[in-house]
Structures are given as C-alpha cells and as structure tokens.
C-alpha cells in the first residue's frame, strides 16, 4: 500500500503529498502523523500539496482532520503550495478549508510556524524566566 512519507526538518514535520489520496492512505497518514508528532514533540506540521492537481471535498476534509488532530497534540498545521487552479476550484465549490492556515510555499510555511513557536515561548515563559527568553 502507498504511504505518504513524513520528514522531520528541524522542529517541523513535513508531509509532501505526491499521490492521489484514497481512504486507506488518508487514514494511514493520520495515524503515522499522530505518532510522529508525539514521538518528536514537534509544534509545527507542514503539508505540501504542490503536486496535487485536484483538491476535492475528500482531500479538504482530510486536511481539516489532520489539522484538528495536530491541534489536539499542540502542533500547528500549515498547508503550503496550493496551486492557483486548485484555489479557484475550491472557491467555486464553496469549500473554504476552515481552521487551516495556508502559506505560499514551504519556506513561508516554516517562517509562519517559527513565528508561532517564538510567540508561544514568549507567552509561556512570562514570569521568573522572562529574562532568559529575552536573551534567546
């Protein structure tokens, strides 16, 4: 069975979807990803859909589910590399991918997650450790 590879880059997990998703691969990806998030303790998940020509309601729901799962595990999901044609189709279909953050490319997505992690660190460490955070 086809499996979607999950790559770890620094503190981020990168999922690059290169094939047409079926029910099985989607479920497998969700399981694998949940495990990897827990194992690595990451705070950011990037899903690269550059290679996808078609994003239908099924893929849209899968992305939403992954985002929700990651959220529960305290990781932010960013979908990157959506093609213009895909975006137009989604808008025409009225699908808005609620609750999913998007970025133009992997680089921007990593910046987005890095900014979020920085912000959370600042929020978390207000108090006696405030000085060490500032020196970071």
């Amino acid at each position: 069975m086809d499996r979607v590879p999950i790559l770890k880059i620094g503190d981020i997990l990168l999922v690059s979807i290169q094939l047409d998703m079926s029910d099985q691969t989607a479920v497998q990806l969700q399981e694998d990803l949940a495990e990897r998030i827990v194992a690595t303790g990451t705070h950011g998940v990037l899903i690269d859909i550059t290679a996808l020509d078609i994003v239908d309601s099924f893929v849209g729901r899968m992305l939403s589910t992954i985002a929700s799962i990651s959220k529960v595990l305290d990781a932010e999901t960013v979908v990157v590399g959506m093609r213009p044609a895909v975006a137009i189709t989604l808008v025409e279909l009225g699908l808005s991918l609620n609750g999913i953050r998007t970025a133009l490319n992997v680089e921007r997505g990593m910046e987005l997650i890095a900014a979020r992690v920085d912000r959370d660190w600042l929020v978390d460490d207000t108090g006696p450790d405030g000085e060490t955070t500032a020196s970071r």
């Binding site: 960013v78 979908v79 990157v80 959506m82 093609r83 213009p84 895909v86 975006a87 137009i88 989604l90 808008v91 025409e92 808005s96 991918l97 953050r101 998007t102 970025a103 133009l104 490319n105 680089e107 921007r108 997505g109």
Partner: protein
Amino acid sequence: MALTAEESSRLIGLLRDHAERITQRWTEAVAAHLRGRLSQAELLRHVQDLHRSMINLGDQGLVDLDDQRAGELRAELSELSRGWARQGFSATETAVSVFALKDVLLDVMEIDSGASALRDWVSYSRLVDQMGLFTFESYVRTRESLIADQAEQLLELSTPVVKLWEGVVAVPLVGTLDSARAQVVMERLLQTLVDTGSPYAIIDITGVPAVDTQVAQHILKTVVAARLMGADCIISGIRPQIAQTIVALGIEFGDIATKASLADALRHVLRLTGVETGRRARRES
C-alpha cells in the same frame, strides 16, 4: 436560384461585349456612393476583378454563386468586403457597391432590348442580390472577428499585476469587471503570487466605475482564493460613492482589510511585515 444556361450565356455575353462600358459605369456608381473616400483607380481595379471573375465563372458553364466552381468570385467578393470593413466603410456602402451592377446591367440592356429582356434582367438581379448578400455576410463576419480580437486585446491589456514592494503585489483594476475579466484577473493574480512568492496582494479598484453585488462577489472570490493559497489581500481605492453603494447593497467584506487609497494599503502591509515607513518613524521620534 441559379441562372439557366441560356441566361448565363446571355449575361456573360453582355458582360463581355460591353466590358469597357460596364466597368466604367459601375465604378462611377460606386464612386458616387463613397464620395471620393476611395481612389478611382482602386475602385476600377476592384470592379475589374469582379467583372473578370464573373466572366471566368460564366466560361465554365452556369453562373451560380453557390456552385463550388464559383470559389474565385466568392473569394473576390469576400476580399472586397473584408478590405472595406477594415477601412471603416459601412455595411450599406459595401453592399451597394455590388448592387450597383443592377443599374449598370439595366442601362446596358436597354440598348439592345429584346422580348425577354425584362425576364433576363430579373434573373440577373437575383444573382446580384445573392452576391450582395454574400458581401454583406462577409462584411459582418469580418467585423465580428475584429470585435472579438479587440475584446481579447482589451482583456490582455487591462489586467496587469505589478510588484509594489518585496513581497507585495498590486492589481490596479480599470474598467468594468465582468465575469470573464474577473476570471482573468484572479488567475493572473494567483499565478503571480506563486511566481513571486509574495504573501501580500493589494486589489486597487480606483478605476472600477461601479461596484455591484456581482463585482463584489468576484473580488471576494479572488480574496478567498488568495487566502487559501496563503496570501493576504487588501482592497484599496474605494471611493466615497462606492463605499455608500457597498453599504446600501449590504455587501459584507468581513475581515478583509479595506483602505481608501493604494498608499494606505501599502503602508498597512509594510507595517504588517515590519518595515518602518518614514512617516511613522518621524512621528515616533
């Protein structure tokens, strides 16, 4: 509606015997209509071409415009109307130039009128009518293709996507925004976002004369599509009148940032990206 063999041969005989006079009269008749907007020599050339191809056609037997052997005559006629359509002559002027042949034929036939002259002339008239209609049709076709070409050029011309700053692109919309143009604008903008990797886009509607619900819908779709791709859109250039229309129509822009001018929008984006603008820096100091 074709002429019979005898009628054809009589017509061709007529055309051949009075060649000089027919072309001369025909040219004069057309020239009178066009009032000197086309040179006499050029008119004469057109008329002679038509005259010659009619005779050529007659030599092959029946004179019939629908016949496949009439290709030369048809080509001649459509070339004439194409040329005139492009030069800005009206449809009537183009058609009348062919119909003028009727009067000329009548004129020529009166000289040696026979018993069946009238019947012949009616048949010839039908042929000339056919030629005229064909001319008219080619004229309209040429005009239509001209209009289609221009519409396409307009579409190409009127939707530039410009880079304002590092990571900021703008679309200055000018003119009425219909579905076709909105689609082109959307595709261009999204493609530019991908190509340049810009996370911000400004849609400037200063040049849009009126914003109705449909135009607003197109703009909103573009913004949502850009968001799906991970870019943020700002709408700028909303004139006071348009702001009133938008509110009156109950159009909701939701959490989309709207600014009065392109400058405001750019400043807003630069602030978001953390670039210090001169004005802000001065105020703080």
